[in-house]
Point group: C2
Chain length 304, copies 2
């Protein structure tokens, strides 16, 4: 069973009222209704040493930053506004005050940059030298539109991405800028139908939009914006399709809205239309020689 | 630097508006104001294999239950009502679907028992055999009174505890009942000044109430309700004072309210008055021979 299947299984076990919990398990954030007109969203992400970071190649400040930034990226994926975070850590035995303060520096840097605050946490020390684990949960509130789900893609939609893709492991994964401002700006300009952040690779996350929206998609290889890091790899297109931790936005909107958005977009972050949503029920990719192949979700799976 | 000191340091770094965040770092939960009359509370707790549980002595169902129950205990400590939880896990490489489903069984058991729902999570697999880590964050809403803080103890208050104390490691720590119903019932009957759940031992958690309220306390050894598990240990009183993970409530209230509460209390869970809040600025304990000694905060410290 892969990650998508187990998340679906969890979601099917869950019998929650849609009035009280408009969005449950299986999207970038869950939504909880607290009053007539008040909802709050929540997400959680855990980073583990040896999986999401390597302390030979990154500082604890970077790890603290990343723990918050991955959650901010979830807020961006729903076009919501981050409010407050709690962070829990399991520390290797040898960690003390100095390590905690370095983590805190990175955490506060990310919080200040994206307008939220650290309001709580939990500290545990392992009794021996074990890998360092950090988990953050983030609360957000709706932005200019209702929280954007993965499931809203419509046949005929254009598929867009922010930034450039691939090769994040060479450094971007530690210092990326979650596309929060972009998400809020885009949703203030046009009507976005579905959105996700690319955490496990373009092919995997596009597959999540297709599956939850019940649609197919075709993307054009030549249009996928390759990062400089991807271009340096042996197979740049594969890197852009399948490397994890890009933390760019992947979203769909009508052709008219897409045209308007691209015309009026003045921000430094690139926006690219890479394909279309269709009714094929599968994901396809058109290669530069015009051949069309099936696109497999080939990105990172946390359970395989 | 011990855990209390580092939490205080984190709290001092935090410059959050008291209007938007009425309760910040350093209590059982933080409080976030979302609208004119709407606030939400959040807590997070992480459990690590080898620290909070031993998989030779406990099942994954019990670990899932405990991950939620420790957070419910925080809700009880503030007299708030649990609403929804998110859970993240870092799994040893060999874990798969079956282990996740066992965890889920325990998580849902606790959620159903205490009236909240699981609404999201995150799954990570270690690349080798590493200890299992689970982190849960819980949202709650205010109960019958304003969220109860540690800092409200007043000189002259009675100090009360629910249940019996000590020896939790022999089994209770996996299957305890967070005192949620008791907290809501007590706060519906009388005016409680301060409350905390005993997670790191009576002496440590009473010290937290004293420090944050700026008061001293005296408790009577003979009045401390010893658990059967504590009575079997070599030093039952020490166990009741310093063993972690009792997850009983420790609270203070006026003498009149205490008398009324104890007179009208008809619930199976025992309530005991064990001492008084005073202006000595220290914690003292009166032994059965009437000698009074200084009581040191001797419970579990996650950083020492």
């Amino acid at each position: 069973m892969n990650e998508n299947a187990i998340v679906k299984w969890f979601s099917l076990q869950s019998r929650v009222s849609e009035t009280d919990f408009p969005i449950g398990i299986g999207d970038d954030m869950a939504e909880v209704r607290l009053g007539q007109d008040t909802t709050v969203l929540i997400t959680t992400d855990m980073l583990a040493e040896g999986v999401h970071f390597d302390l030979q190649k990154s500082t604890l400040e970077q790890v603290g930053y990343k723990a918050i930034a991955v959650n901010i990226s979830d807020c961006a994926a729903m076009a919501t506004v981050p409010v407050a975070a709690v962070v829990s850590v399991a520390l290797p035995k040898e960690y003390g005050e100095s390590e905690l303060k370095k983590l805190h520096t990175g955490i506060t840097l990310a919080c200040e940059k994206f307008g939220c605050v650290l309001i709580g946490g939990d500290i545990t020390s392992f009794k021996s030298k074990e890998p360092f684990v950090i988990s953050a949960s983030m609360l957000s509130r709706p932005g200019v539109c209702k929280p954007l789900r993965r499931s809203g893609a419509q046949i005929g939609d254009c598929i867009c991405v922010t930034g450039t893709l691939g090769g994040s492991e060479s450094g971007k994964h530690l210092e990326f800028e979650p596309r929060l401002q972009e998400a809020l700006k885009i949703t203030g300009m046009v009507n976005v139908h579905s959105m996700i952040d690319i955490s496990d690779g373009l092919s995997s996350d596009l597959n999540r939009i297709c599956t939850s929206s019940g649609v197919g998609a075709i993307i054009e290889a030549a249009k996928i914006p390759l990062s400089d890091a991807a271009k340096k790899k042996r197979k740049p297109l594969n890197a852009a399709l399948n490397d994890g931790e890009d933390f760019e936005l992947l979203f769909t909107l009508s052709k008219d809205d897409c045209e308007e958005l691209l015309n009026r977009w003045r921000t430094r972050t690139p926006l690219t239309c890479i394909g279309d949503v269709n009714d094929t029920g599968t994901m396809q990719i058109k290669m530069p020689d015009d051949k069309i192949s099936i696109l497999q979700a080939g990105g990172y799976d946390h359970l395989s």
